[in-house]
Amino acid sequence: MSDSALESVTPTPQPSFGGDVVIEANALTKAFSEEVIALQGASFQIKKGSFISLVGPSGCGKSTLLRLAAGLIDRTSGSIRVHGEEVNEPRTDIGMMFQKPTLLEWRTAVENVLLPNEIKGTIDDAARRRAIEALHLVGLKEFEFHFPRQLSGGMQQRVALARLLQTGADILLLDEPFGALDEFTRERLNIELMRIVDDTPTTSLFVTHNIAEAIFLADEVMVMTPRPGKLARIVDVPFERPRSLELQLTPEFNAIESEVRDLLGSYV
């Protein structure tokens, strides 16, 4: 590598294309204007098959980070690579889920789940069968032909989850997917989500406000701080899988929880 002036100004760590790194960010920065810096200098690597939680208070750039990884917005500087490729446009091998179910109201549950196939032109009987199975997997047996408005908020989010699975994406970007649901529904859906992603070789990035939820689901917790949004630390969560809810009562879990809480410190 030449030591050109440009490189000395922005010290870019050598990207390591270690076989199993799926998402890699180096000094990733997104500024919406001079004053509004949503994300500043984030560097991290996400390994294939891992589940990463992103925690931090509102306005710390969590959603911005997800949208950068999905290619929905352009970075200001730095780099973000998915499967070793710089992300410059929306990536179709990435599945997204939002806080709102974002279902098409005029389509039944199964028609919503089939949307990815329709758009990718892969609709056939096998896809239809998988859509029905996905709905059964998320616990919506007998609701295949209901319209979103006929379903509760939790069930709508289950349809969205089924649609996410239907994309067949191996990278899932989840932006507070259960944030608008009540505590019980949220806990149940978290467990189901974990069961589903444990069974598949997917890599997940999960944004949340909830520290316990972040730790419970993840292999690593990325802790972010706001104004400007910065990646403060990556906390390792070494618990074995499958995990059960009782894990949250163990002293080891509590130790990690207070560590994350300390990192967030005055921001929460």
Partner: protein, 291 residues
């Protein structure tokens, strides 16, 4: 007869409730008509200013059943209004779709749209007559002009108000602009477009009738004018009621269409549509096991 009362007779059914609710209105309406008629017959009203119900009724009877001359005028106006409606709505919606797709086009037409909206469309009626002549084309043109704006602005607003997350979803699925439009933007906009169409319908009728006032040999507008100029106010009232009936008829048609098409905004419709979709799926993909 002394049969045991059925459940329906004991509990107030829905129809009974509806009947009871409409009874109040029927009684009120009947009372107004009755008092009005009495006032007329006792010489309290001037029949050149406010003719009473029986006089208006007699005119209606003549127009519809004795001379039957209303039909020609009725269908002339209806046809002109409906054609004007379709032309105005097509132009409005097409411009809105163009504006929604091209920010540059939107910026260019925005000021004209504002000026157009604040200018009373009816005011150009004399110019329309000058351009299109005294025949049916001037009526259609004014109808189209008056009803163009609501569908335009509603369609544009609705298309621009597409949910951001849904947009992100479509982008991350790799949807083309065409798919984005047909599968997300347009269906999402339909409820608001329909609201615009209902306003346009009233506009189309208004435009047609005003154009008829200026010059026409046929149409309810000219009929109204003939009656009024002859000081046959009872005939004018009968014509006015006919216009109301025409408006109501068209409006009901739109309501029915709206109700059938925009089923997802209506809780009462979703159940049956949901069942239909399930049946359709089973007949087409019966091999796929559904619970």
């Amino acid at each position: 007869m002394t049969t045991a009362p059925t459940v329906e007779q004991l509990a107030p059914t829905r129809t009974a409730k509806v009947l009871k609710a409409s009874l109040k209105h029927i009684i009120t309406f009947g009372l107004i008509i009755f008092v009005w008629e009495i006032l007329g017959r006792t010489g309290q009203l001037n029949r050149l200013i406010l003719p009473w119900p029986s006089l208006i009724g007699a005119q209606l009877l003549d127009l519809f059943f004795i001379s039957g001359k209303i039909y020609f005028h009725f269908f002339t106006t209806l046809a002109e209004a409906v054609i004007g409606f379709f032309i105005g709505v097509s132009i409005g919606i097409s411009l809105a779709v163009g504006a929604a797709f091209s920010p540059r086009f939107r910026r260019y037409i925005a000021p004209y749209a504002v000026v157009f909206n604040v200018t009373p469309g009816i005011a150009v009626a004399p110019m329309i007559i000058a351009w299109f002549g005294f025949g049916w084309s001037s009526k259609i043109a004014l109808a189209a002009l008056v009803c163009f704006f609501p569908p335009f602005v509603n369609t544009l607003t609705a298309l621009m108000r597409t949910d951001e997350d849904a947009t992100d979803l479509f982008r991350s699925l790799g949807a083309s602009k065409r798919e984005y439009f047909w599968k997300l933007q347009l269906p999402n906009a339909i409820p608001l477009i329909f609201a615009g169409l209902k306003l346009a319908l009233t506009g189309a009728l208004l435009g047609t009738i005003v154009a008829e006032f200026f010059s026409a040999s046929a149409g309810v507008g000219i009929l109204m004018q003939r009656f009024a100029f002859a000081l046959q106010i009872d005939g004018s009232f009968a014509t006015l009621l006919t216009m109301s009936a025409m408006g109501l008829m068209l409006f009901t048609l739109m309501e029915v269409l709206d109700y059938r098409l925009v089923f997802w905004k209506r809780d009462s419709r979703m159940d049956s549509v949901s069942k239909k979709r399930a049946a359709r799926w089973r007949s087409r993909h019966g091999a796929i096991e559904v619970s």
